[in-house]
């Protein structure tokens, strides 16, 4: 090392009294002499200026609104003329405390590398002292400040080599005074944050080099960045300032040819980042993002001036600078990491309800069993880490699950391609059809109706849009994936349920049995084969809903609330497909909260206990408002108690409800009765009797609800149907599965402790064998196929040319009259390409148009020209009597003037064309602003609930 250099310390402070004494000590204890200390105070109110005055004799006081660059300029001015004063300036913040050898190390590096004009120390966290903050920084293409360090990385000397970097933090920056002057100091457009990056970038472009010297250490509290210190410059929006600085730095320094791209990229990136922030409920930061973008983009003149100034001093080629910038792929890597974090948080969420309860219990009572167990589990955490593939192939449960899913997919082969039949109408041709159905308040169906589209149209439309706009694919996907998704959900639910009951959880074989048995419920019941998409979706989602609802038992109130939004969203989704779900959830919720209130009195007073379940149930009508409210207004409230799909829906006798079968459908009925028997036997093991009883309580409430529903007969215009009891059937099956699983868990737990008593061994073996038969028979029955009424080519019996004509406009309707004179005639009006999925409910729930009924009756009994004209006014182009046509009616219509006989492929089908001009506005109707408003409410509610239930990545909240 050559002789001592002249160094001036430039210390800027603002409300830094907390740290200043240490900083002053740090400066004083430097192992190399400091020629001069210039202290600048920017309007501190905590006595910082006096501290500085005591320490260094004098202090320059400037206003509180002075930016850091201005403060530095003030300090530099105080040093006197550049050629006379000290050669080096050492910038320090009031919260950055240099290690005693810091300056020495920096100067030594400067000596070693005389070409270096800016040198920065290694920044470590203050007060933890060992965690690394920065070792030089650079900036990514999206404006992210890149340190190249892991978060909270400990300093173990792993980065200790002197390197050329783009920039170093101004806290501890040792800069050649001449270079700083040549660069024009710090950019006054960057008052607090990011001016170091800009300085470094400008320096690099001007041919100066910046070194990071890890041997020099400065401890930095990052008070402003962390929001500990608030200045008039940062305000409350540190994120805004940081982001603004990043945008400014990128746009001011980017090479000219890349500028247009960069402008567009940063704007789009801001939108993306806003969405991301909204998803994790950081609304403030999202707004900061937007404000920063607007702030920078709204002053193009400033930017142009800044770019001009930089260009004038540019010496280095941009390619040389680019080496120092972060690699192009880094933002994408961060994006991936973010998604991974999000996914981990999402899947982690409730799987750990059991653990979190246990942890909370342990925290509350460290001497408890729970606490001891937590300690033991932590030790076990470092298990054997073998390869994923090896673990898969040596795991019979995983293999069986794979086989199950594969066989299930084979069983659902008929659902591939366009399917309809049974209770399933064909999917529309385009997803736009579904969107229109959802968004329109008046449907040009039948005689024209304001009855709203069923709620499931929205999720189906979303799914179809995701699947490249193919509703047929969406229907197939739902049918094919129902079993695997239900299996996955049931597996997760049963594992957590088991671990809520005891720490070991249910044996995996038992969980496997339960999950597969449940996953087959929609199939074995016959609903799948009958195309009851509502039931199928509800069955696939129910375990996920139950899993989310377990979050109500979380020890943390914030998590309980998140469980509420999550359960609410899932309940809304399930209710969209099986409307009775909401009613049942409300009843079960009431009963459970009532029982909980009776057992734990304090729970009733604590809003965070009863609030979440209430919110989950209460949010559903809001989320489904565009369907719910107009249905009631339009006298179609019966839809709230009906299944989705064609009417009449499926029915089940009491025994069938118990066995999980629908009337005349499904796998062999006796297999279905095994489950209730096993669930009854599950009450025998003492260890798990209480949780099994809880299951039976739910079963009881469900049965009571079903019994009440069974008393209702809903008289619709076209048909009378009993209220839907299919969802209660599903819940009963689910609850029986859970009860049986828990019972088996109790049995195994008891046997592990005390061994298997000889007397019960045969009984257990028998029950286990019988239970094993349930999923095996179900799966085999499903895979064998041939039990469904699904078809890929529905034959409507309507001649194709009529359908083609009908598709040219809603007024080209087809009046279809079925039945015969002796037993009565039924009419319906077909429009467009026919009734597609989502329209059945609209038509079935529309009230009778009595004038139209009268018109049709007159037409088929004693028609005159008035009836024919009436048809045209109602937008009916063809009249069709499908095979077998009633001769009497056919003869009457044949003899009617104004009806021209039309041909049909099937000679037993009769058809006529109405030979009168059709009214183009025949089925048009008014727009309902109420429904438009409700659609807006729904969209907002979905967004808000999505944000509220999203896993948080904010550590303050997730803690």
């Amino acid at each position: 090392m050559s002789g001592p250099r002249s160094v001036a310390v430039l210390l800027v402070s603002h409300d830094g009294a907390r740290w200043l004494p240490a900083v002053v000590d740090g400066i004083r204890s430097q192992t190399v002499p400091v020629q001069q200390v210039v202290a600048v105070d920017t309007g501190s109110k905590d006595g910082s200026d006096e501290l500085l005055e005591q320490a260094f004799g004098s202090v320059r006081r400037v206003g509180g609104a002075t930016s850091y660059p201005e403060a530095v300029r003030t300090g530099l001015d105080a040093l006197g003329p550049a050629d006379a004063g000290p050669e080096w300036v050492w910038l320090l913040h009031d919260d950055s405390n240099p290690d005693p050898t810091c300056l020495q190390a920096l100067l030594a590096a400067a000596d070693d590398d005389p070409g270096a004009d800016l040198l920065g120390p290694k920044l470590r966290e203050w007060p933890s002292l060992r965690r690394l903050l920065e070792l030089g920084v650079t900036i990514s293409g999206t404006g992210r400040r890149e340190t190249g360090l892991e978060r909270g990385e400990y300093d173990q000397g792993q980065h200790d080599e002197v390197r050329t970097v783009l920039a170093v933090n101004t806290a501890g920056l040792l800069v050649r005074r001449s270079a700083l002057k040549a660069l024009g100091g710090l950019d006054p457009h960057l008052p607090i944050f990011g001016n170091d990056l800009d300085l470094g970038w400008r320096a690099a472009q001007a041919g100066h080099r910046t070194l990071v010297v890890p041997q020099a250490v400065v401890f930095h509290a990052e008070a402003a960045h962390r929001g500990i210190r608030r200045t008039p410059l940062t305000g409350r929006h540190t994120h805004y300032q940081e982001r603004r600085a990043a945008l400014w730095t990128l746009l001011a320094n980017a090479p000219g040819r890349a500028l247009p791209f960069q402008v567009v990229r940063l704007a789009l990136g801001t939108v993306l980042r806003m969405v991301g922030f909204l998803l994790v409920r950081s609304v403030g930061q999202a707004l900061d993002e937007l404000a920063a973008l607007v702030s920078v983009y709204s002053h193009p003149g400033d930017l142009r001036a800044a770019r001009r100034a930089r260009r004038s001093g540019q010496v280095a080629d941009h390619d040389e600078v680019r080496r120092l910038l972060a690699p192009w792929w880094l933002p994408y890597r961060h994006g991936l990491d973010f998604l991974g974090d999000l996914l981990a948080a999402a899947t982690d969420q409730a799987a750990d309800v059991a653990e979190r309860r246990r942890a909370a219990q342990a925290e509350a009572d460290p001497s408890s069993f729970a606490a001891r167990r937590v300690a033991v589990e932590d030790e076990d955490a470092l298990g054997v880490d073998s390869g994923l593939v090896a673990r898969f192939f040596t795991n019979p449960v995983a293999l069986l699950l794979t086989v199950f899913v594969a066989v299930g997919l084979i069983g659902s082969r008929v659902a591939l391609g366009d399917v309809s039949g049974g209770g399933l109408s064909p999917a529309p041709d385009t997803v736009g059809h579904w969107w229109r159905l959802h968004l329109e308040s008046w449907h040009e169906l039948g005689a024209g109706t304001a009855v709203p589209a069923p709620a499931y149209v929205l999720p189906m439309a979303l799914l179809a849009t995701l699947l490249l706009g193919s509703p047929g694919t969406a229907v197939s996907a739902v049918l094919v994936l129902a079993v695997p998704v239900g299996l996955w959900g049931a597996w997760r639910l049963l594992r957590v349920a088991g671990r809520l009951v005891s720490p070991q959880g249910a044996p995996r074989w038992v969980v496997l049995w339960g999950a597969t048995t449940y996953a087959l419920v929609p199939v074995a019941s016959g609903a799948w084969g009958d195309g009851r998409i509502g039931f199928v979706v509800a069955a696939a989602l129910l375990p996920w809903l139950a899993h989310a609802a377990l979050g109500f038992a979380d020890p943390d109130a914030d998590r309980r609330w998140r469980a509420a939004w999550r359960s609410g969203l899932l309940l809304a989704l399930v209710s969209a497909f099986a409307p009775v779900a909401w009613l049942l959830a409300a009843v079960i919720g009431l009963v459970v909260v009532a029982i909980a209130g009776a057992v734990v009195r304090s729970a009733v007073r604590d809003r965070s206990v009863w609030g979440p379940p209430a919110a989950a149930v209460g949010i559903v009508p809001v989320l489904l408002a565009p369907w719910w409210v107009p249905a009631l207004v339009e006298h179609a409230g019966a839809g709230l108690l009906l299944d989705a799909g064609r009417l009449p829906g499926l029915t089940a006798t009491g025994l069938e409800l118990l066995g999980g079968r629908f009337d005349g459908l499904g796998a062999p009925a006796w297999v279905g009765l095994v489950l209730p028997v096993v669930a009854l036997a599950a009450l025998l093991p003492r260890a798990t009797r209480i949780p099994v009883l809880v299951c039976w309580v739910v079963a009881l409430v469900t049965a009571a609800t079903a019994a009440a529903l069974a008393l209702l007969t809903l008289d619709l215009a076209a048909v009378s149907v009993p209220a839907a009891t299919s969802f209660p059937l599903l819940v009963v099956q689910g609850v029986l599965v859970v009860a049986a699983t828990l019972g088996a868990q109790g049995l195994v737990a008891g046997a592990r402790r005390a061994g298997w008593p000889t007397a019960i061994r045969p009984v257990v073996a028998l029950v286990a064998a019988a239970a094993a038969v349930v999923p095996l028979v179900g799966l085999g029955w499903f895979a064998a196929g041939g039990h469904d009424s699904l078809d890929d080519d529905p034959d409507s019996g309507i001649p194709a040319y009529m359908v083609q004509s009908a598709m040219t406009g809603p007024e080209h309707g087809i009046l279809v009259v079925r039945g015969d004179v002796a037993t009565g005639l039924d009419y319906s009006i077909r429009r467009g390409s026919g009734v597609s999925l989502g329209e059945d409910e609209v038509l079935a729930l529309s009230p009778e148009d009595e004038e139209l009924t009268r018109l049709v009756r007159d037409l088929v009994s004693r028609p005159t020209g008035a009836e024919v004209a009436g048809l045209a006014e109602h937008g009916i182009e063809y009249v069709v009597l499908p095979s077998p046509a009633d001769r009497e009616v056919a003869g009457t219509l044949d003899a009617t003037a104004g009806l021209v006989q039309a041909s049909a492929e099937d000679r037993a089908t009769r058809a006529w064309q109405v030979d009168r001009p059709l009214d183009p506005d025949a089925v048009a109707g008014p727009r309902s602003w109420l429904r438009v408003g409700l659609l807006v409410v729904q969209a907002l509610a979905v967004l808000v609930v999505l944000v509220l239930c999203a896993p948080t990545t904010d550590r303050r909240r997730s803690r």
């Binding site: 005891s502 064609r646 009417l647 009449p648 029915t651 089940a652 006798t653 009491g654 025994l655 118990l658 209730p676 009854l680 009450l683 260890a687 209480i690 949780p691 099994v692 009883l693 039976w696 079963a699 009881l700 469900t702 049965a703 079903a706 019994a707 009440a708 069974a710 007969t713 215009a717 048909v719 149907v721 009993p722 009891t725 209660p728 009963v732 005390a754 279809v816 039945g819 004179v821 002796a822 009565g824 005639l825 039924d826 009419y827 319906s828 009734v835 329209e839 038509l843 148009d849 049709v856 009756r857 088929v860 009994s861 004693r862 001769r887 003869g891 044949d894 003899a895 003037a897 006989q901």
Partner: protein, 457 residues
């Protein structure tokens, strides 16, 4: 929800007081199962909605073209209404007890509107030789049994379209071997307001006894068959109308069997897909019996069978018999062709008469023949001549299963027949220059208005 307590503690605990979980473990599932079993649902069936009736406001009848000596079309109101009736555009007045007449050669469309629509009847008849037919209303399906398509026995099917729109009929032909392939008889188009005559001997020449099923597939048609017997060289051809029946029956009663010498052929057709056996019995005023020596007739599926009854009927009619009953093991159609005194007479199954009716009959010696009464009751008969004057008023008592006959004045042309407390089958046999049969059927006074309701798509 933690692990069970240790066994020792459990034992002491249970001894002290009964375990509430055991109680719940019994009560909860029991209640749940009971409620579940009570909450079954079943599909709600839709009840049949029978049509309501309303008085007709328009009646259309189709009369076939005339036969020699039978130019006159007669119309009457069965409910005693008066007003104009439209016959091919010409107005003919009807009044209570009065018959309106118009001479038209070709086929005739009879239209009665408003007051004269309910119970409007029309017929065509002649007396030299005696021929008669009623003018039927359009029906969807009609069977004619014992039709011929050869030189000796030939028939002409006449389809009359009473409406403005076109009509199409399909004709199914059965012979003794089965269904006759007759593409020319499928999709027979009859333009609106016109009629079409199909001479079977020209279109599908063949020997044997045939049966026709005329199905109207488009529009509305009335169907009638002229049946000609030509005993080549030995006599002049003789023609009469052949009555149809709307549907096959397991028991068919054919009335109007004339007396005298001549061949009598019963033809039975089996429209079903299984072979049937038919028993032929003879109907008298108070009994129905099987003639000796007459075996069961086997009728092949979708085929006809011929039974020669010349000897049996000649003897039986002489003893007072006037009808035949065909009882089969499945629904059949039947027709009897008698050629007596050189005149062909066609007898066909008679429908049951449940209410008051009127019949238009030609002048001549005539006998009302009744059979198969549903119970104890009577039939009141009023006969009027062409001027509306009452020429007879009689009452015939009825006993279950039996019938009776009633001779009526020669000049009677309008019969009002009212069955009382029983339903019965009835026909009028007119004899003179040959013979003709007029079957009585219920009047059509009401139209059916179907119940209409919105249906599922």
């Amino acid at each position: 929800m933690t692990d069970a307590p240790a066994p020792a503690r459990r034992r002491t605990a249970t001894r002290r007081r009964p375990d509430v979980t055991v109680l719940l473990a019994v009560l909860l599932p029991a209640a749940a199962l009971a409620l579940l079993l009570a909450s079954g649902t079943e599909p709600v069936g839709r009840a049949d909605r029978p049509p309501s009736t309303t008085p007709l406001t328009r009646t259309l009848l189709g009369c076939p073209a005339s036969l020699p000596g039978a130019d006159e079309v007669r119309v009457a109101s069965g409910v005693g209404a008066s007003g104009p009736v439209d016959l091919n555009g010409e107005q003919v007045d009807v009044a209570p007890g009065r018959v309106g007449t118009l001479a038209v050669g070709g086929s005739v469309v009879v239209r009665g509107d408003d007051a004269v629509a309910p119970g409007l009847v029309a017929g065509r008849s002649g007396t030299s030789p005696l021929v008669a037919t009623d003018c039927p209303a359009p029906v969807g399906e009609e069977w004619f049994t014992g039709v011929g398509a050869d030189a000796r026995h030939s028939s002409v099917l006449e389809l009359v379209n009473a409406n403005a729109g076109p009509a199409v009929a399909d004709v199914l032909v059965l012979d003794e071997d089965g269904v006759v392939d007759a593409p020319v008889l499928r999709g027979v188009l009859v333009p609106g307001g016109e009629s079409r005559r199909l001479a079977l001997a020209e279109l599908i020449p063949r020997d044997g006894e045939l049966a026709l099923k005329v199905t109207t597939t488009r529009g509305r048609l009335t169907a009638a068959v002229e049946d000609t017997e030509d005993r080549l060289g030995s006599a002049v051809p003789t023609t009469d109308w052949l009555g149809g029946q709307p549907a096959p029956e397991t028991t068919s009663t054919l009335l109007g069997v004339p007396g005298g010498n001549g061949p009598r052929t019963l033809v039975v057709a089996n429209p079903g897909d299984d072979e049937l056996r038919a028993q032929v019995r003879i109907v008298t005023a108070d009994s129905v019996f099987a003639p000796e020596g007459l075996d069961e007739v086997r009728v092949a599926p979708r085929a006809t069978a011929r039974v020669q009854l010349s000897a049996e009927l000649r003897a039986a009619v002489a003893d007072g018999a006037y009808g035949l009953q065909v009882t089969a093991s499945g629904p059949v159609t039947a027709g009897l062709r008698s050629v007596v005194s050189g005149d062909v007479v066609r007898s066909a199954p008679v429908e049951r008469l449940t209410g008051a009716t009127v019949a238009l009959v030609p002048e001549g010696r005539k006998q009302l023949q009744l059979a198969d009464s549903s119970g104890v009751g009577s039939v009141r008969v009023v006969a009027r001549d062409a001027s509306g004057e009452e020429v007879a008023r009689e009452e015939v008592p009825l006993t279950p299963g039996a019938g009776g006959t009633l001779d009526l004045p020669r000049r009677a042309v309008l019969l009002e027949v009212v069955p009382d407390r029983a339903s019965v089958r009835a026909a009028v046999l007119v004899t003179g220059d040959g013979a003709a049969v007029v079957r009585l059927r219920d009047l059509v006074t009401d139209g059916r208005v179907p119940e209409v309701a919105p249906g599922l798509p």
